[in-house]
């Protein structure tokens, strides 16, 4: 099996997956003018109220009217986004409101619609803190990337050019981050999914897993580079990938099995989270095998010097 030989085909596959994601990030941006992903209240600030009605559920219009009545200059909660849930509940998103306002509104709902109202879930985040969390999240990802780069650099100090391993691992990681962000952008565009704190957790997990997986492949390269000194670098890297392939597939399978059971049986509150994890972890394994290790070869051969000179030959 020669994976390294076809490296540019695999790079192309990655691009084909990443580019549509980028396009939809652009579309989201054009639509909301806020950013590449539809952000949930954890990042943007606002309120999410999930209420269940014991008897007849009021109409969407009635809820909108109620919100308009409770809207004030300090809490401009008019024009909420109202989503019916199951048979008897609503998820209502609005600008941020206080617990007191929510309490009054629930009392009013019970009086007006003559039914018992249960609050399933209420979250309210002020816009300022949302913006801060977004910044901090970006910073956390950057910090993780740097820490991992440094760690791999150090852990591979026994081989030639250890920083290449760190850099290649981080590039593969960024690949996975882009795949995850792209998936979220597409799902956000079509299904209205919003990135929330759980999405961030999933993204950070994918980062951890991606590097975890890359290191296993690189570890073989590290080991083989000492044993197979006479073999050409390209062949040695390919050999290492093939040697770890069984393990990569098995691990991938077991993690997928646990995640699938979470998707199927884990309930609604974690479904978004787990689907993002599934995509990210699949991408993590793909990028370790088909991106990270081939990047080492591209770097070793300094192939970018010939990219524009003899295109036909290198992309074959």
């Amino acid at each position: 099996m020669n994976i390294i030989k076809n490296r540019y085909t695999f790079f192309l596959i990655s691009l084909l997956i990443i580019v549509p994601g980028l396009v939809f990030m652009g579309l989201n941006w054009a639509q909301t003018k806020e950013g590449p992903l539809p952000l949930g209240i954890d990042f943007r600030g606002g309120s999410l109220l999930e209420v269940q009605f014991e008897n007849a559920r009021p109409t969407v219009e009635e809820i909108a009217t109620l919100y308009a009545e409770f809207s004030s200059a300090a809490e401009p909660i008019a024009d909420p986004i109202i989503q019916p849930l199951a048979e008897d509940s609503f998820a209502i998103r609005s600008k941020s409101m206080t617990d007191e306002t929510k309490g009054k509104m629930i009392v009013e709902m019970e009086a007006r619609y003559g039914t018992k109202v249960t609050v399933l879930n209420f979250t309210s985040v002020s816009p300022a803190i949302g913006a801060e969390v977004t910044r901090a999240a970006g910073f956390a990802i950057l910090l993780a990337a740097v820490a991992i780069l440094l760690y791999i650099w150090w852990a591979f100090r026994g081989v030639e050019h250890p920083y290449r391993y760190g850099a290649a691992a981080v590039i593969a990681m960024l690949h996975d981050v882009l795949v995850v962000l792209g998936t979220e952008a597409i799902l956000g565009y079509f299904l209205g999914w919003e990135a929330d704190a759980l999405f961030l957790t999933a993204l950070l997990t994918v980062i951890g897993f991606s590097v975890h997986d890359t290191i296993v492949v690189f570890d073989r390269v590290r080991e083989n580079s000492n044993i197979l000194r006479r073999v050409e670098y390209e062949t040695m890297v390919n050999h290492s990938i093939v040697q770890t392939l069984d393990r990569s597939i098995t691990t991938q399978l077991t993690v997928m099995l646990t995640l699938f059971s979470l998707v199927l049986f884990g309930g609604d509150s974690t479904r978004h989270f787990v689907i993002i994890l599934l995509v990210g972890i699949f991408s993590g394994t793909y990028s370790s095998i088909f991106n990270a290790a081939p990047i080492l070869v591209v770097w070793e051969n300094r192939e970018w010097t010939t990219w524009f000179k003899r295109k036909a030959e290198t992309s074959a």
């Binding site: 999930e50 609050v119 979250t123 691990t251």
Partner: protein
């Protein structure tokens, strides 16, 4: 592998201990020589708010961004808020400072989040109130003229409006003392400007009642025995040590040292939490079962051994969750399930190596030890990188009061550490032990070759 039998004993003891912890809510070791138990510890599984329902509020110092909030102010504010929450009768309140200007407050199982939040937001106001000759009982709600100009004698609905002499701002210190008869009292010292106001008032109002009022609620209404002109005084009343202590704390820091606002509030109804818990646990068990089946079928004997290691892994992790204790949240359970995957990965790495070594014609004993030592660097480095990520997540979650992220990182990190132990020590010990008992080497097929 040396010390195989020692490890086997250690593992068996650990499994026995973890079973004890996992299956009980309360650890109790009776003392044979007396009635007081030797060890008693509550090890109930702590569930997060998203699984049991309740309110979580993120509070922030309501001061301009450039104003520095000292950690002392923040901790004081936290303690006062904690007292207030306890006064509301909410049990198991958890308050923690997060970063340098925030406090995370958690109220499991509350059904009235609005009231709790509004009680927290209040800036407690301590007043010394002129009550004339008819004191009101402790706990009465009253109206005072603090902050009003030319206040009328009664409100529109006929309630008396009492006159505020001074507020808690005039107090220097307050502490608990005991009188000669053994009764608890509170002695206080006033600031110099307040001393004059107080001296004048107490001179002209002897044998009248001076009520101490916190948030418009009478705490006690002592009688003025003699003028207090030196700025030092004592409040006596029907105090126990505890109530005196509480009051002195309230007097010292009656008002919050910093104004507080609610920047984030999450309420999860109990039904939703219960359902999430049930489904996640169910999904986790199914996932574990599928992995166990898969490992057994794919890797045969080593797979079954790894399954045993996986079960000890689950037992140990649950034990740590209960002992530390780790508050389990929904993402926390997800982190745990993910770490199961990583625990399996360590075994997969070793077994793939084992197969390779066997194919290269080594005997089984050699192959096992070689497989472990060769797989170790990749297990070490890959798990270290996961630990680095969880550490960054933990710091991020802790600083911003994002308890979702924090819970996830703790369970993931714990899972990784335990999985290292089970993959390296437990699987290997089991495999060697098995090897001594049966002539496995005669059955290469059992190893999936």
């Amino acid at each position: 592998m040396r010390n195989k039998n020692t490890w086997l004993v250690v593992i068996i003891l650990l499994v026995a201990f973890s079973l004890w912890v996992d299956l009980s809510d309360n650890l109790l070791v009776a003392n044979p020589f007396s009635d007081t138990p030797l060890v008693e510890r509550n090890v109930e599984t702590k569930l997060g708010l998203d699984l049991r329902g309740g309110l979580q509020a993120l509070l922030e110092a309501d001061v301009p961004a450039e104003t520095v909030v000292t950690s002392e102010e923040l901790v004081n504010a936290k303690n006062i808020l904690q007292n207030r929450a306890n006064a509301l009768g909410v049990s198991e309140v958890v308050m923690q400072t997060a970063g340098d200007r925030r406090i995370v407050a958690e109220f499991p199982g509350v059904t009235n989040p609005e009231e709790v939040v509004s009680a927290l937001k209040q800036t407690a106001l301590l007043e010394f109130v002129d009550m004339g000759t008819t004191p009101l009982p402790e706990g009465s709600k009253i109206q005072t003229d603090f902050g009003m100009e030319n206040a009328p004698a009664t409100t529109e609905s006929g309630e008396t409006i009492y006159k505020t002499i001074m507020t808690g701002a005039g107090l220097q210190t307050a502490s608990v003392t005991r009188s000669q008869t053994g009764e608890y009292a509170i002695s206080f010292v006033l600031k110099s400007d307040a001393t004059d106001v107080f001296g004048e008032y107490t001179t002209s109002h002897q044998q009248q009642y001076l009520a101490i009022v916190l948030d418009k609620q009478v705490i006690s209404a002592p009688i003025i025995q003699s003028p207090i002109t030196d700025g030092q005084g004592q409040i006596s009343g029907n105090f126990t040590q505890e109530t005196a202590q509480t009051l002195s704390v309230q007097l010292r820091s009656g008002a919050l040292p910093i104004p507080i606002k609610v920047v984030e509030s999450r309420t999860v109804g109990p039904t939703l939490g219960e359902e999430s818990l049930r489904k996640s646990v169910q999904a986790g068990l199914i996932g574990l079962a599928v992995v166990i089946l898969f490992m057994g079928i794919y890797y045969r004997v080593p797979g079954v051994v790894a399954d045993m290691a996986l079960i000890t892994y689950a037992l140990f992790t649950l034990m740590l969750f209960k002992l530390i204790p780790v508050v389990l949240t929904l993402p926390g359970i997800a982190g745990f399930i993910l770490s199961v995957g990583m625990a399996v990965d360590a075994n997969v790495l070793i077994f793939e190596r084992l197969k390779e070594e066997l194919r290269n014609g080594r005997n089984l004993n050699q192959a096992i030890d070689l497989a472990w030592s060769r797989a170790w660097p990749s297990i070490r480095d890959s798990n270290t990188s996961t630990l680095i990520t969880s550490l960054i997540l933990f710091i991020f979650g802790n600083t911003f009061g994002a308890s979702i992220v924090k819970g996830f990182s703790i369970t993931l990190a714990l899972g990784v550490i335990v999985s290292l132990f089970t993959a390296i020590i437990v699987t290997r010990t089991f495999l060697h032990t098995l090897l001594d008992k049966i002539k496995l080497a005669e059955h290469p097929r059992w190893f999936g070759l």
